[in-house]
Amino acid sequence: MGPALGKGIALMASGPSKSAEAIVAILVPPACREEVLGDLHERYRSHSQYAFEAWITVPLVILSRVRRTADPQVVLIQAFVLYLSFLCAAWFKEAALLQAQWGLLRIAIPAGITLLVVMLEDAYANPGRRPPLSLVRGPVLGLAFALASQGLFWSGNPKLALGRWILLSGCAMSLLLSSAVRMLFPPATQQLHGANAPADWLKQTGGSGENLRALAAIGAVLLLILVVLQLWKRV
């Protein structure tokens, strides 16, 4: 009875293994890591219970964090800018692709992957105001994943892959435009408060005048890129 009781108490007092906790710590976004790891630790009963609970909890925590950091209006602008970049690149390099079957969908694949990675990068960013140059990290990572996915398509299913020049010029344009959008409308990495809160960048800029200036800046960048591409095509 005595040793068995002692064993039971030892089992109850033990926590999750360091390696399991480290894996969960990597998966949970830093902004909510402390409380989620603490709650999972407190609810620990066995290794399998801990693994199962982490398995069903962590995806919801990530999705909630993405919802908090991704402003729907800015995500739409980002999606538009990314798709437009690859669309322009295809139009200049291989206009026939736009009429081909699934052509427009093939253009959407790298744009979609980049957007997804950018949203996840924001969710995993440390809370607090970020220096402007660190905002470029999201698009760089996103485009790296987009390039890697195209590499997989080239080797596995070439019908879904884009041409090398379309991809490279699309990536270059995406990087420029996406970074500009992120600098103009920085992601919300702080916790938001307020009923039916408007877009975070709207609160930061504090009025429509600032937003008009930001939109004018995007328009100017787009115009500049179109002029450069036009000159490039002539050369």
Binding site: E35, L37, D39, R43, P59, R68, H193, G194, A195, A197
Partner: protein, 121 residues
């Protein structure tokens, strides 16, 4: 501050749990209270986190990190409390729920009301 949307049923449960736990409202205790209120339905910890985040964004609750404790592996708790707006919105929801209850008793009879009243206690 704009008026928030009306509360969903799960949001009402989470806010009631925060109110019931008073100073001790954090992830684990809120989850156990919500499970108690929602029985026999099982509730995942993740669903509670998502709802807490949403309620905080709506300005209905506020949160802060407490000191780390050894039973949590040296990790801090995120504690929650209702804001004044949250209390008002929860009160409105409770009044609506009471009106629904009274209407159902009128339709399904006092015997039904007494039986469920006993079960709920």
């Amino acid at each position: 501050m704009a008026k928030p949307d009306s509360l969903g049923q799960f949001e009402q449960l989470v806010m009631t749990a925060i109110l019931a736990r008073r100073e001790d409202a954090y992830g684990v205790t809120i989850h156990s209270k919500v499970e108690e209120l929602a029985r026999p339905k099982a509730v995942s910890l993740g669903a509670v986190y998502v709802t807490l985040d949403r309620l905080e964004d709506k300005g209905l609750i506020a949160s802060w990190l407490s000191d780390p404790t050894p039973e949590r592996g040296g990790r801090a708790k995120r504690c929650y409390r209702l804001e004044a707006l949250g209390e008002r919105v929860l009160e409105e929801s409770a009044v609506t729920a009471k009106r629904i209850w009274e209407s159902l008793v009128d339709v399904w009879g006092r015997e039904w009301g007494r039986r469920w009243g006993r079960e709920l206690r």
